[in-house]
Symmetry: C2
Subunit: 406 residues, 2 copies
């Protein structure tokens, strides 16, 4: 069944209201750490603190969220104040002397762990860029651009990071072009950077050329240097929610380029392939890992339902629907939206649980930990409200008030 | 209900028969890689090969198993031939030029990944020692002793390995004294080494002094340098099956020392504490992770049932029963044995599945992968049959035939 205009207006209100009345208030302002800076985000279902350590990814993501709310929803001083706490903590405590960032620090900002990946850096870029726009701080903009340059050097191999594997079996992951694509899109949307468009085009080509397999209707998570499937356990492992996140980054780019038909087609193909492989026909929801040839995967928790693949799939199906009007996407959006809000959402205390068993039973109660924080859910609610508002303002010429209230 | 002599005889026959007619034939001889050496062990439920890569831990463990069967069950040429394949592959392909070992290599033996831990090395020590005893190869004995010396240097900090964490929050894990304790016990039981007794005593003291918490009835997985509980998510995480494995290593030492009462008490306390925390009163089986204060843990799959904690708990409860005669341990043994063989065992195709959901439903079908292979299950069946046989030969003076058939 297609979505009516009423349905879409109701969805816009729903996402907007969930974001501002349920999700954001779970986290803020109580998580502001006025004593040491940054945020205290590792919280149990009732909001009680599980751990006062700080995960650098999540500090960056929370800074991005508060800045983005300030930039696009309302110029609340409380949000700018929080963004400043996060941005300054990142600057003061999360960089090592070699310019790389840590992964995990204490409440006071002492380093606990540094990893071989540069995701801390990419989240810093989107945080600093959004904060620069919110605050007008020129140094924050310069920092965002500088660290983006570092990320470009890591991504291109110009600066080499310590490898986890030997050179025996070279492989490349979809994670790098995906995170860099989104980082560049965020940078472009906030403070702009002349490098972005060219790189965005390159990373999309990289994804399409090497990772999207039309013959077997699949988006690979990793491949050999020539795009070949690596027929070993790790090489065969698919992450449907992750590939679907990549699909909406590309649909977002299609929208930015006036519905570029090639990109619309590419994003929809990626969504189609990975919906087919990821949607759990038995219990509903998106399965975490699948094997490309349906063999057992290494990770034992492969059939669990995690919160974030559902956030990505809600965005991707809604954006595909608004872009194409294809009823199939309305149906898929309704399925994943209904399953996710029924099983993950905690209506009593706000926000979502993170980890369910395959059948939707709660596996554990944490709402914030080293990997979960105020990011995927609020980003989904914010982004869905935004594209619905834009849809009305473009298509019906009547939606500008919606754009204003999210 | 206590175990009768008939019950124990039946258990002896059961473990012995499972080992020789069900578990070992699943793996061997079909996994011998006559072309490249070593073993092809990553297998699905029906024995079909999932991946021809070789996990170094498992190559060592399989070599240990085949050598041990040859040393203690029957001098089958087929087992010695397999042990030789494994031992020679380890020597030819699994050492890096710095003397450290790899974690994961290709079928041909090209290195894929090296890790910061020295578990590959400890499994090499028990493999080479058992193979030396089986083959009479003096060089294998010298290699076992040399690599054991390297492990001692890593364990004591004399040789420093690249750390995963900074020095901000020093911690030590129970894994090091546990694996070293068992490695030394194996070395002593096969080829002997004068360093073993002293170190075994030290590692048991280390476990008792720093990790066993009588006041809260708990065995910690990691602690601060002074034994304090690190009140952060990782520091609070318990691994009941692992601590129970440590309990039987200590009960094994108690048995070796003529039922040393202090060690019997220590091993039983560890088992008691972690049975209370690990046994799932709702569904049965041993839960994978718990938080010391019952908070949510970081790992989302914390309530899954893995095969190996059940193998360790079957051993620990049986050994505790045979050592103390305490009916409680007979009851626990019956509970964990029945639950495990009912849920993990594949009666049609042999061996056990590795990964179940909390309720005992199968999560995935692999019987061999990077972490599972012919080790915990056959070790459990072999060791349980062995201690039952010894029990009869000591207590009833009638069990020597049992000792012979396993």
């Amino acid at each position: 069944m297609n979505y009516s205009k009423q349905d879409l207006l109701a969805l816009n209100d729903f996402y907007s209201s969930q974001l501002l009345n349920d999700t954001v208030p779970f986290w803020f302002p109580r998580s502001y750490d006025h004593e040491y800076g940054g945020f205290l985000l590792m919280r149990d279902a009732d909001g009680s603190l599980l751990d006062d350590d700080k995960a650098v990814w999540i500090q960056g993501r929370a800074t991005w969220l508060l800045s983005t709310l300030y930039n696009t929803v309302e110029q609340k001083p409380e949000w700018l104040e929080g963004a400043k706490l996060g941005y300054e903590f990142l600057n003061s405590h999360c960089f090592d002397s070699d310019g790389r960032m840590f992964f995990h620090v204490t409440r006071e900002g002492k380093p606990l762990r540094k990893r071989r990946y540069y995701f801390s850096e990419t989240f810093y870029v989107i945080a600093a860029a959004a904060y620069a726009k919110a605050s007008g701080d020129a140094e924050a903009a310069a920092n965002a651009r500088r660290v983006f340059g570092d990320c470009l050097a890591y991504a291109s191999g110009e600066k080499r990071l310590e490898p986890k594997f030997t050179d025996t079996r070279p492989a490349k992951g979809i994670g790098v072009p995906m995170i860099m694509l989104n980082t560049a899109q965020q940078l472009r949307d906030t403070i702009g950077d002349e490098r972005c468009d060219e790189w965005i085009t390159k990373w999309i080509e990289e994804i399409e050329t090497f990772f999207v397999k039309d013959d077997i209707r699949c988006v690979m998570e990793q491949v050999g240097p020539d795009g070949s499937i690596i027929n070993h356990i790790d090489g065969r492992t698919l992450n449907p929610g992750h590939a679907i996140e990549g699909a909406w980054f590309i649909l977002h780019e299609a929208k930015y380029r006036n519905n570029d038909p090639h990109l619309v087609d590419l994003g929809c193909r990626m969504l189609d392939y990975m919906w087919e492989r990821g949607w759990d026909k038995e219990f509903g929801g998106i399965l975490y890992f699948r094997d490309v040839y349906n063999k057992p995967v290494q990770e034992y928790w492969q059939d669990m339902k995690f919160w974030w693949p559902h956030n990505e799939t809600i965005i991707a199906t809604l954006l595909a629907y608004l872009t194409t009007g294809n009823e199939k996407y309305a149906q898929w959006h309704r399925m994943v939206h209904d399953w996710a809000y029924r099983h993950f959402h905690d209506p009593h205390r706000g926000e979502w649980f993170g980890y369910l068993h395959q059948d939707g039973r709660l596996a554990q109660t944490a709402k914030g930990n080293l990997f979960k924080g105020p990011f995927h859910l609020p980003r989904q609610e914010w982004y869905c409200a935004k594209i619905l508002s834009e849809h009305f303002s473009v298509n019906q010429g009547s939606g500008s008030t919606h754009a204003a209230h999210v």
